[in-house]
Symmetry: C2
Subunit: 496 residues, 2 copies
């Protein structure tokens, strides 16, 4: 058997988890730090996050939300207010107990000045934001209150993986208060739809929108909605969640308003968030055996220009490259100038070329004297390395560059969509279901009568969970596990 060479070792088919780590390393996205479970997001990874932030922030503001910032620390007594919530997050939180260090007399420092009340480093901010909202909301005229926060949060994870599960991560968390359950549910679903648009149109990552089963609900929520994406190992990644919190947190935090009839009521709240986990999803949705593949709409650099020169023609080549860069940057793509870099470092051409392949830059341009003489541009598409290098006139290249990016963007989406569609299967019998997941499976669309015991058994025996009950529902049928009536199919899968 012919073994194809690839820039990443191992390849996806050989060892998917290790391939994932190696893609991150080769693209220089992030690294593990010496602090248990915390990562360092390196410049290329952070630039990707900044682009995600920029787009999401625009969408969040456009839909009438305003950004604000709340304390990192949550006093223990706030944290205890919502019973389900504290029960879940108390298991994995960073607790601040002292406000000073002092010498222990043996040349080391030990914690000193114990706090009267321990502080929890926020794992999510419902309880601390609730404290403020209770002051801000007095009357129905103050509603809806629609706030978003960009912040770091901490959950003490035992098994961590870069981007996918880390003790500290970066995210946005939206928190809103409404005067009716209908309006709050509408908000919850509108934000889910915003996440779908972001995942599909910007990350080029198709997702299934749905509701979580009760066992997977956010602790304290009435309903949790989510977007679920399929990775290239056919496992599911929960990429974003949006929660209808009913009056649970309003009651815990005393968020009350006087309605139009002069009667005091608790508000109806929502919360919704996406995190640096999306970067993990992006990596796993598109990357290949040669490394990272980035959708142009989020790529920190759209094209890198590699000048090929010797001492005699160096200035000619660099001048041409500089002009080409400026021409390309004159284009506006996805609300910003096209981003172009020139790499004139003294490195071997192949090494340089492959470093950008591994970084996922959508278009790699190589310019030598012959291209200049012909007023041409020679380029490679990251999504189509096997098609080899292409050449076209400089004017055409500049004039059609944004279309080229659009084409790459839609090809990535279509490829991911095709892969997912090939790996979602309707299953109507229990043996077939177990057979499907024995090796690895994909997404099984199977009926379920709502019985939690079934969920638990399947999880225990197969490591498979209900990812969501897709919105729109579909037809009723028979639950293959119980033989009982089922309202709709659920999506079942192994997951991250």
């Amino acid at each position: 058997m012919k073994v194809e060479r690839s820039a990443i070792n191992p390849r996806r088919g050989q060892d998917y988890p290790e391939w994932y780590q190696q893609v991150i390393r080769a693209a220089d996205l992030a690294e593990i730090s010496s602090v248990r479970g915390c990562m360092v997001i390196k410049p290329w990874g952070y630039a990707l996050w900044e682009n995600m932030q920029k787009t999401l922030d625009r969408m969040i503001k456009k839909s009438g939300h305003r950004n604000a910032y709340f304390p990192l620390f949550i006093p223990l007594r706030f944290f205890e207010k919502e019973a389900e919530h504290v029960e879940s997050f108390a298991k994995e939180c960073a607790v601040v107990t002292h406000s000073r260090l002092q010498a222990d007399g043996k040349g080391h420092l030990i914690p000193a000045s114990p706090l009267e009340e321990p502080l929890i480093v926020r794992p999510t901010s419902e309880t601390i934001i609730g404290e403020s909202f209770a002051n801000w909301v007095k009357s129905y005229r103050d509603l809806p209150l629609k706030i978003n926060q960009w912040a770091n949060v901490v959950r003490w994870e035992m098994r961590t993986r870069l981007f996918l599960r880390t003790s500290e991560f970066l995210w946005q968390e939206g928190h809103t208060v409404h005067s009716s359950p209908e309006e709050a549910i509408q908000e919850t679903l509108a934000m889910l739809e915003m996440y779908r648009v972001f995942a599909e149109d910007h990350m080029a990552m198709p997702v299934i929108c749905g509701k979580k089963s009760d066992s997977e609900r956010f602790p304290g929520a009435v309903d949790t909605y989510c977007i679920e994406a399929m990775m290239q190992d056919r496992k599911a990644l929960q990429a974003g969640t949006s929660h209808f919190l009913g009056q649970n947190f309003a009651r815990a935090s005393h968020i009350k308003f006087v309605n139009g009839e002069g009667v005091e009521e608790y508000g109806w709240t929502t919360s919704w968030g996406v995190s640096t986990r999306l970067i993990g999803g992006l990596i796993m949705a598109h990357s290949d055996d040669d490394g990272l593949v980035l959708p142009p709409k989020l790529a920190p650099v759209h094209a890198v220009i590699l000048p090929i020169f010797n001492e005699s023609n160096k200035s000619t080549v660099l001048e041409y490259c500089g002009k080409l860069k400026l021409e390309l940057e004159g284009n506006i793509y996805n609300f910003s100038e096209v981003a172009v870099e020139i790499d004139d470092r003294d490195l071997r051409g192949g090494e340089k070329f492959w470093s950008y392949v591994k970084k996922g830059v959508p278009v790699i341009v190589e310019i030598g004297v012959r291209d200049i003489e012909a007023n041409c541009v020679c380029f490679s598409r990251r999504d189509g390395l096997k098609d080899g290098k292409q050449s076209c006139s400089r004017d055409t290249f500049v004039a059609t560059f944004c279309s080229l990016l659009d084409d790459i963007q839609s090809k990535l989406f279509n490829r991911a969509m095709k892969y997912r569609d090939e790996n979602v299967v309707n299953i109507d019998s229990e043996p077939e279901f177990f057979e499907y997941f024995k090796d690895s499976g994909g997404f099984a669309s199977a009926h379920w009568n709502g019985d939690r015991a079934i969920e638990e058994r399947v999880k225990k025996e197969l490591g498979v969970t209900i990812r969501c009950l897709p919105l729109g529902g579909g037809e009723g049928g028979v639950c293959p596990f119980s033989g009982k009536e089922s309202k709709q199919r659920a999506i079942w899968a192994k997951s991250y």
Copy 2:
């Protein structure tokens, strides 16, 4: 005596610290939270911070720095590495000692699962970033390494004040490594200059650039440079610092590189930062007895349009206002679209008008049917309320709107500069110096022979410190405290 009415009570001249709190409250910028020393930055305050970030981030990137993100927590052993550093920050830090909460059997939760090694919530990130830099830097080819981080930091302050001094604050911290002390010093000064440009050109706040005396150096630095601004109570505000760290932190973190001759050396590092404290400076530099005054370059909203209508002409008025908004937004100001809001809430006109005065919106436009008939715009400048309302043709208003903003921006700067210049005094005798600061004083430019005992005595007796030794130095002279020779004058002041 005639008492002038003002929107803020007390006025600046009556009780400056309380005026400051009331300006913040009236503009709805921030509030104290229930978490000791931590603030909630409300949407209007956060929008201001976002604008500061946007501009600074552009400047930081343009000068060749890349953003990254490092862990929130610093293991105690890293923190201990630089002696001066730990001695200073250990006095006021949040210490994480547990990773879980458990029930105490009496219905409450207590910290559980003690950590093997306590973690410090970063008060600044030299030591944790040093850990990564030690891995990233191998050869002189890896240098300079120029990284910036936007983050929250925590210093356990005993006496806190919104924006000026809080236990948690937001900031950017630049961290760089260089192959020579000359290059590192050049970087330190270039970033100081960047801060000066930001303070003067964007915040409209004149600053004095200088070097700190040894007693005010950043703990662990060789030299600390700063920008110092004068507030309207004539006290100084340190608005930004840039540190030349020599090889101190490189030695502590083992940041080594192989130089061009193949010899291993410690790197030369710098760090520099500005924080949400700048918002406090901005408030105190420009605001007046009617509330916040914002420089247009940082204002979240450049103009608010207040439609004046009754039921019969509502649609005509709102249509005109909507068109005016779109026309104004067609202008680009300071790299972004002009930001315009229409407030058509059902409120009394005066109440609405004054709410925007207190929020510091640079231009307040009022549109009624008579303006529409004359195709005119009636507006007030926030910086010139006493000049009353102005009127001009709609076309002229739209066409010259950016010049109007520029004019406000430069007037604010000139006003602040004039105030500062009037309050910087050359002083050459000790009695005169003590007399000057007996009431409140301003900035005293006085010689100093470098003796730390003098600094300490002046601080103890007058609460006055050396703010900086201005760059450029000036002429030598005689120290009025010791009668000894002095190389240059220092700026002395009371400070925040």
